[in-house]
Symmetry: D2
Subunit: 147 residues, 4 copies
């Protein structure tokens, strides 16, 4: 799972399809930006419609981004004919999120046969520095694809 390792064409296709086929992801404006073996990065340009009642980015936007990106990272490593479904996740919101572009990087902590665990960081680059808004741990079931 080193960053240097290039994903196979099939792995990249799995990640891309996971974003393209999920309506809610398009609806929120989330798109994949990069991926490697065991990690995926995604982003969303923040608009007024993403706000909660105090003007910050809604926790729901952050967790949608964190969960979906985690799923793509784990799905890429699932055996052929298998996909992943989120069993549970936990997210800490570290500070109110204000930014123009919200980023996420998900990295697989453990890719198992039945269960995978992924960590997602949600952050922005502000004045060239990474500002971490939330961090999630996502547990996913590895399940056979149904046709």
């Amino acid at each position: 799972m080193t960053e240097q390792q290039q994903p196979s064409a099939q792995q990249r296709a799995i990640v891309e399809a996971g974003f393209a086929k999920a309506n809610f992801i398009g609806d929120v404006g989330i798109h994949m930006t990069d991926c490697g073996v065991g990690w995926v990065e995604a982003a969303v340009d923040i608009l007024p419609r993403h706000a909660q009642q105090n003007g910050f980015v809604h926790a729901g936007v952050q967790t949608t981004l964190a969960d979906h990106t985690a799923g793509a990272a784990a799905g890429m490593l699932a055996p052929e004919g298998y996909t992943v479904l989120t069993l549970e996740f936990k997210v800490n919101l570290l500070r109110p999120a204000l930014c123009e572009r919200l980023l996420c990087r998900a990295e697989v902590l453990k890719a198992g046969r039945q269960v995978s665990v992924v960590e997602s960081e949600v952050f922005a680059m502000i004045d060239g520095e990474k500002r971490l808004f939330s961090k999630a741990t996502v547990t996913m079931a590895v399940v056979q694809m149904s046709d």
Copy 2:
């Protein structure tokens, strides 16, 4: 926190404002349906745009609903001049969610001076029976409102 107890006009106003002022909640289509002292119920009519890649309701829709409804329930019990912000939450997705209308009920487990804890159930009524899709535990900081 018994269900029989009616919320004050001010408590109801806090809940209603918490839904009305949050852009992302309107964007996703979530609205408050009922509330009492220490609990809030909300709903969202499921459309194709809420789906994940396999056609189920996206986890992000469920957690946005669970988190926001929890915040309203805890916010209602915060002292005057105070509001709540989500510190963290954990959600278990118990089964794939398919339904026409997704419901949520959030109940305060502990209303503290600094921290409140709320439980949210996300479910549908199918053939007259409650089908539980996910359950979240939400920890919220009680913070002074800034003007």
Copy 3:
């Protein structure tokens, strides 16, 4: 999973063995007190050795109790030849715990083929009233027993 339903002799034996065979459970002083189909209750008499630095019951005692009792409840419902292993849990510590006898009740929220989810409450009876100290949600993998 109603409380009225009596567990089978085999289910009770699974629960009893789960407590008897776990050395750390005996070491901490935890014992099973009752069980039904899909729920288990356990207790520990609190001694000075269970304290954290301020004199309260250590979170580790509470989570050992919550996790183990949850495992017994889920294990009872696993198919023959299968057992459960904790994948993850989350616990909220609602207030500092001071008591003579710490109790736990674990109830299965979902018994699945691959994964079960259990909720555990850790509390004491003080002046005849239940005082809730912590609440945990435990996700368990259903795995084949190895011989």
Copy 4:
């Protein structure tokens, strides 16, 4: 919070006292092994009494270690006259734990005025390689010390 930075004598004393004064920590056999500004390391020599029913290290041992070490790391950074109490934690058990000596490293992810968040890794060194057994995220309240 760089590793190079030496903790002050007072910070080290806070960490040492946090381990020495907690009865349950001594009872389980956990001791602090090293610390820096914003991080603490601890260890426990595994004995038969630490086992669960299948012979692995009990999740309760791992979470006691993870939570307590996290508390020491956050407590070190609390303002004078303040200490920390665990609000909640979540732990993923990544694989069954078998080892002679269980290690933990806790690092502060965010040190706040009201709330701090710490990550703890529980692992063993096996044949010179780190084998990660569990990872926890711990949320702590920063509270005034009572005399």
